[in-house]
Amino acid sequence: MTHFLFRLFVALGVAMMATAAYSQTDVGEGEKLTRQGDGSGAPCIACHGADGGGNEVGGFPRLAGLNAGYLAKQMFDYNAGLRISAIMQPNVDNLTEQQIQNIAAYYASLPAPPSKTTGTPPGAQVALGEKLTKEGDWDNYIPPCAACHGPGDRGVGSAFPALAGQHPLYIRQQLEAWKTGQRKNDPNQLMAAVAGRMSAEQIAAVAAYLGSLPASAK
């Protein structure tokens, strides 16, 4: 009996600690902001969709299910001028640090919706994309995407975002932005190094293949 009480006590303590850690971000507040905005810019859902699934035609990325640390860093980087976007910057510039963390936590908590990418890319293009993401092109010193973005390119930690199921247009635009130096908020220039060596054909192939992958395992 005392053993049971002790275990109950430990379980309660653990639950309280977990709650305390979780209350650092407020997912509900984050959700509200994504729907209503902060009064000074467009609400997130206007472009990223009610389910956080983004939009291929507009090149608006899927945010649902991405790592919270990664998402928060992007918003901080827009505000610090480290990542440039004429669309994003004016919409996040009045958010407080806490609001950014809440929005990031909300999107990270959402399940990744099925890719809405329409149309089937040519088989040869997908095959080249698959080869590059899994094996790279070492003769041109391009390591495989999965070497950092993990199994199935589903992302690793806060530094290497999930690419699987991301919209091809967005992936292509970002790779081109790194290649030209327009985007440079990657840690230690790890992405700029690789993107800078990729041909337009390789970029299109990788984007098409990654977009065709399921966003979550199994």
Binding site: E135, G150, P151, G152, V156, W178, N188, L190
Partner: protein
């Protein structure tokens, strides 16, 4: 005046824009080949698929060996007891220059190896990697799995001259064996600046969905104290020419040495050649351990002074045997 100012600003922007673009390129800085060196162009997977002269059955065996090489973790608990795969240290499928390309083992062996003081076959050389870097035990000599590994290595060597030893891009070495003055704290600072984002603040790497993405650099699931890369000069050259991934040659020589020393000043599984006494083992294999921190006092701790074999339930694989032709 204001218009002129704006014009000047515009001009400055126009001029600086292309310069910003040029800066975006991260160079691949690898050592130059020396005159007279043999430079190999190892075949690619496409070459294998398109080569009608290779029997389909042999292609199967080569592809099996390649799969073992690329995803050695499928043998975790059988041949491998660390989190490493062959490709962790031999980048680019074992084809890449300055990344320990594996085909020279085919064309330069059998030969005498200082490490174990006898003439080694290709199978024994592969067994060495499994025993030390992978902290495991090799596929049995002559087995199907060993044949597959040998077939993959041999195919990569296609067209290379046998017993030619003046090879460009062989091994990792470019920094030589003599270190600069080594400073643990400086190595630690470089580690946290350039390496920790992938390998973690604690050096334990990163895993996702049960798969190793970034291998641990020390601790129970990394290479053991007998691995070639515990030699600081080997690690320094590997780092210089291969790390951070995608940016070879971006660390200075000194930075590569310092961070190699920091990584190899951490604890790891015991050297399979352990005699039961770290000082004695160091002395017995001093031709190897003179380049390592094994058996040295670092930050008040005698490194390697333990019987921990990591995740491996034994110390020495049976495959490690001496040879003599007396």
């Amino acid at each position: 005046m204001k218009a002129r100012y704006l014009l000047a600003l515009l001009a400055a922007l126009l001029i600086s824009a292309p310069m910003a673009l040029a800066e975006a390129t991260v160079p691949v800085n690898l050592p130059d080949f020396k005159d007279g060196q043999y430079i190999h162009k190892a075949p690619t997977l496409d070459d294998l698929k398109n080569d009608a002269s290779i029997h389909p059955e042999l292609k199967k065996v080569i592809l099996k060996g390649r799969d073992m090489f690329m995803n050695t973790q499928q043998y975790r608990g059988k041949y491998v007891f660390s989190d490493l795969s062959c490709k962790s240290c031999h980048l680019g499928e074992g084809r890449l220059n300055w990344s320990g390309p594996v085909w020279p083992a085919v064309t330069t062996l059998p030969d005498f190896r200082g490490k174990n003081q006898h003439v080694n076959s290709l199978e024994e050389r592969i067994a060495g990697c499994f025993s030390f870097s992978m902290n495991g035990t090799p596929p049995a000599y002559g087995s199907d799995d060993m044949l597959a590994m040998v077939a993959y290595h041999t195919w990569l060597a296609k067209g290379a001259p046998v017993y030619e030893t003046n090879i460009g891009g062989r091994g990792f070495s470019s920094l030589g064996q003599v270190p600069p003055k080594l400073d643990y704290d400086r190595g630690q600072a470089i580690y946290h600046k350039d390496c920790a984002i992938c390998h973690g603040d604690d050096g334990q790497g990163q895993h996702k969905d049960g798969t190793v993405v970034f291998p641990p650099l020390w601790g129970d699931n990394s290479y053991n104290w007998g691995a070639g890369i515990t030699r600081i000069f080997t690690a320094a050259s590997f780092i210089k020419n291969n790390m951070p991934l995608g940016k070879p040659g971006t660390l200075t020589d000194d930075e590569a040495w310092q961070v190699a020393n920091f990584i190899n000043s951490q604890e790891r599984p015991q050297d399979p050649r352990y005699t039961g006494d770290v000082k004695e083992t160091r002395e017995k294999f001093i031709n190897f351990h003179k380049y390592t921190n094994y058996g040295k006092l670092i930050n008040g701790k005698l490194l390697g002074d333990h019987s921990n074999t990591g995740s491996k339930p034994f110390l020495k694989p049976d495959a490690l045997q001496p040879r003599a032709f007396d």
